[in-house]
């Protein structure tokens, strides 16, 4: 495969790849940490703050139910935000892939 001959270190060192790496890492790990914390608030809250979960919000619907349902909304929201943001990453990655021979080609 032609790609085997690429100088990967050169591509890695390319400012465009470095920018992609920096942006993607910050975004993905930030989102990941947020998702994990938000999720674990549910079992922790249910176990240690049951009185909060029992507070009625409207009708018989209590805070616990609203919070559990919000987990679904948040998970879908994360997927939606990531899908939109990933289009930018895709464009950057595509540009690098297109120029891969130029940046990392070996003579």
């Amino acid at each position: 495969m032609a790609n085997q001959t690429l100088n990967w270190a050169a591509i890695d060192a390319d400012p465009r790849f470095q920018e992609l790496h920096a942006r993607k890492s910050r975004f993905l790990w930030g989102l990941m940490v947020f998702a994990v914390i938000y999720y674990f608030l549910l079992p922790i809250g249910a176990a240690y703050f049951p009185d909060l979960f029992k507070v009625r919000v409207f009708g018989v619907v209590n805070f616990g139910l609203v919070f559990a349902l919000s987990q679904f909304v948040v998970a879908w929201g994360i997927a939606f935000i990531y899908a939109r943001r990933a289009q930018q990453f895709d464009a950057m990655a595509e540009a690098i892939a297109r120029d891969a021979q130029k940046i990392g080609g070996r003579k």
Partner: protein, 651 residues
């Protein structure tokens, strides 16, 4: 059943169909059994037709393992949902909600959140770096033979745990629903699954999973429309009906015991929507949550699905579709579970299956017109057939994952040194499928009546403690190398298994004996006291009769009957306890020779996941490997840009 025992059933019972508890009755009315066979035959017919078409398209090893990379993101999303929504989620979670309300719903959340990990950090690199198996990913910058051997062993271990739970659960489920023998139903599940995998490989497996997921979603939507529609799709109005239901109030009173005495009916109903009826051990629950959130991304049969799509973009799209379907489905189960609690009732649900797995099928029967109606039994048969298709589809995915590890990693990668033609590899993959399928059927039959429920939780724990750390660090840490991967897989797998072996999941005869002896002692005291009461009441009645006086309140015939009845109950409890002690057969220690658990949690994740990560990091740092670090640039550039990924060959 003690609180702890209940918690055990729960965590894992949902996961693996605590159907393993004895079924007391057949769900479909006998005169309508023919309906079940018609619906089953229709679903099997459709999937067999798909397999026939798929078989024609399965010509190369790439077709067999990864459907030639020609699956679209949308299709793969449905297939992932089909692979993931096992009978455990479909029947187990609806059952948990029907019996325990809020806690059951809360339990479902972790299963969806797990996909955030898959989406953000695993799916796209896996597509860009991998080819057919998890071993391929690790082989990229490590010693291929070594890491493939260990990864294949881990894949087969995880898949076998999961498989055993599915086979046993499936056998019990089919037996409960339509009354055919356990062994026959295990064999039917096994043979069907083998037909899909053997002839149609990943193509057929994918379509079977898609069909099953669509059937499952349609069945659930219809049921929710019927049950929620009565309340004009008003959320609060519906839940008001739930909390006002006398059956649910009685169920809550049963669950909380003495605490219910000072509560009004409305309070009891409201309690059903509050946490704590089921989960009593928060740390254990957090441990399970960790295993779910990190383990899903390390399950071989789920990860393998990302090799079936052509690009990282399609991989991303498939996770997003899967999240929409899986999440939507869990929201529907909230209505299925509470609907079953209202319309069918906890007593009737547990009469057929103690774990609550029959909640959704029984609700279908009710919504169609009840036990004696044709439509009711048709709907029950349909839901039963969907459950059956579910088990077959999940088992097919698991067998394919284990067989791929066996043929692609072990036979081709290690034994043949990557020198095998596509024809040879395809043959090896098919032979491996037969071997794994035969093992699955054998284990399924041998494990009859065993409590295998904790095996699904164990599969997630091993995936989270061994597979996920090595995959994640291979993708994101430059210094990760062969030594780290081997150490991570070994330590993660063994620590998860070892912790379960010394956990409260096992049977501890002396503890059971002590608990049962307490029951016997209490029963004896109660019987002695009641016998005294009985005599007192009898003599009071005799005296009153002799003196021709009216009977005093509380000292009449009704009181006599009540006391006799209570003695009967106490005697029954005593006999049950004695039988349990006898059943222990003089054993004094658990499977690994312990008299009491060494590790307090049922779910090992909290300890074994950090151990797995630590093992990878420490071993990688101790045994530095130049090549692994030199390959880092290539891996990282490729995983982020998709340059030079194993090209898909769609037909």
């Amino acid at each position: 059943m003690s609180v702890n025992r209940k918690a055990l059933l729960g965590f894992v019972g949902a996961a693996a169909l605590l159907g393993a508890a004895p079924a007391f009755a057949q769900a479909v009315s006998p005169q309508y059994t023919y309906l079940t066979f018609i619906v089953f035959a229709a679903i099997i017919g459709v999937t067999m037709f798909v397999t026939y078409i798929a078989a024609k398209r399965t010509k190369t090893a790439a077709d067999f393992y990864a459907a030639g990379g020609g699956v679209s993101g949308l299709q793969n999303g449905w297939a992932i949902a089909g692979d993931y929504l096992s009978a455990a989620s479909f029947l187990g979670i609806a059952g948990l909600i029907s019996l325990y309300g809020y806690d059951g719903f809360m339990y479902s959340v972790g299963w969806l959140v797990a996909y955030i990990t898959v989406l953000l950090v695993i799916a796209e690199p896996a597509r860009n770096i991998g080819k057919y198996t998890m071993g391929d990913i690790l082989a990229f910058r490590n010693n291929p033979k070594v890491v493939k051997t260990f990864m294949a062993i881990s894949t087969i271990t995880v898949s076998t745990f999961y498989l055993t739970a599915q086979m046993v659960g499936g056998g019990v489920l089919v037996k409960t629903l339509i009354g055919i023998d356990y062994e026959v139903s295990v064999a039917v599940v096994g043979v069907l699954m083998m037909a899909y995998v053997l002839f149609g490989g990943m193509v057929a497996t994918t379509y079977v999973q898609i069909i099953k997921a669509i059937l499952l979603v349609v069945a659930s939507l219809v049921m929710v429309a019927l049950v929620w529609g009565q309340y004009g799709f008003n959320f609060n109005g519906y839940l008001e009906a739930v909390t006002a239901d006398p059956g649910i109030q009685a169920q809550v009173a049963r669950l909380i015991g003495d605490a219910s005495k000072n509560m009004s009916a409305a309070e009891l109903g409201q309690r059903f929507l509050e946490p704590g009826l089921y989960f009593k051990a928060p740390i254990d629950q957090i441990s399970l949550g960790m295993a779910l959130v990190l383990g899903t991304a390390g399950l071989p049969h789920i990860l393998m699905r990302f090799f079936t799509v052509p690009t990282a973009q399609q991989a991303r799209k498939s996770v997003i579709w899967a999240m929409a379907i899986i999440g939507g489905f869990y929201v529907l189960t909230l209505f299925l579970g509470t609907g079953a609690a209202m319309k069918v009732g906890a007593l009737q649900i547990t009469a057929i299956d103690k774990g609550g797995n029959m909640a959704a099928p029984l609700l279908a029967q009710f919504l169609g017109g009840g036990k004696d109606s044709m439509l009711g039994n048709l709907m029950l048969a349909f839901v039963a057939a969907v459950a059956f298709a579910t088990i077959v589809a999940v088992v097919a995915g698991l067998v394919l994952a284990a067989a791929s590890a066996m043929s692609h990693d072990i036979w081709v990668g290690v034994i043949k040194g990557d020198n095998a033609t596509s024809e040879q590899e395809l043959r090896a993959a098919r032979i491996s499928s037969v071997i794994v399928g035969a093992i699955a059927i054998t284990i399924g039959i041998l494990a009859k009546g065993q409590n295998v429920a904790h095996l699904v939780a164990l599969a997630f724990a091993v995936a989270a403690s061994a597979n996920l750390p090595v995959i994640l660090l291979t993708f994101y840490w430059k210094r990760c190398n062969t030594a780290g991967v081997v150490a991570g897989l070994v330590v993660g797998t063994l620590s998860a298994i070892a912790l379960v072996l010394v956990s409260p999941n096992m049977t501890y005869p002396l503890q059971i004996k002590a608990a049962q002896e307490k029951v016997i002692k209490a029963s004896d005291e109660k019987i002695a006291k009641l016998t005294g009461d009985l005599k007192g009441i009898q003599s009071a009645i005799d005296q009153a009769k002799a003196g021709n006086q009216p009977l005093a309140a509380g000292l009449d015939e009704a009181a006599l009957e009540r006391a006799k009845k209570e003695i009967g109950i106490a005697e029954k409890a005593k006999a049950g306890a004695e039988a349990t002690i006898k059943g222990l057969g003089g054993a004094t220690t658990s499977l690994v020779g312990l008299t009491e658990p060494l590790f307090p949690l049922r779910n090992p994740g909290l300890v074994s996941i950090p151990l797995g990560f630590l093992a990878v990091i420490i071993a990688s740092l101790l045994y530095r490997d130049k090549r692994a670090e030199e390959m880092w640039d290539e891996l990282y550039v490729r995983s982020n840009t998709g340059i030079g990924r194993a090209a898909a060959t769609a037909h």
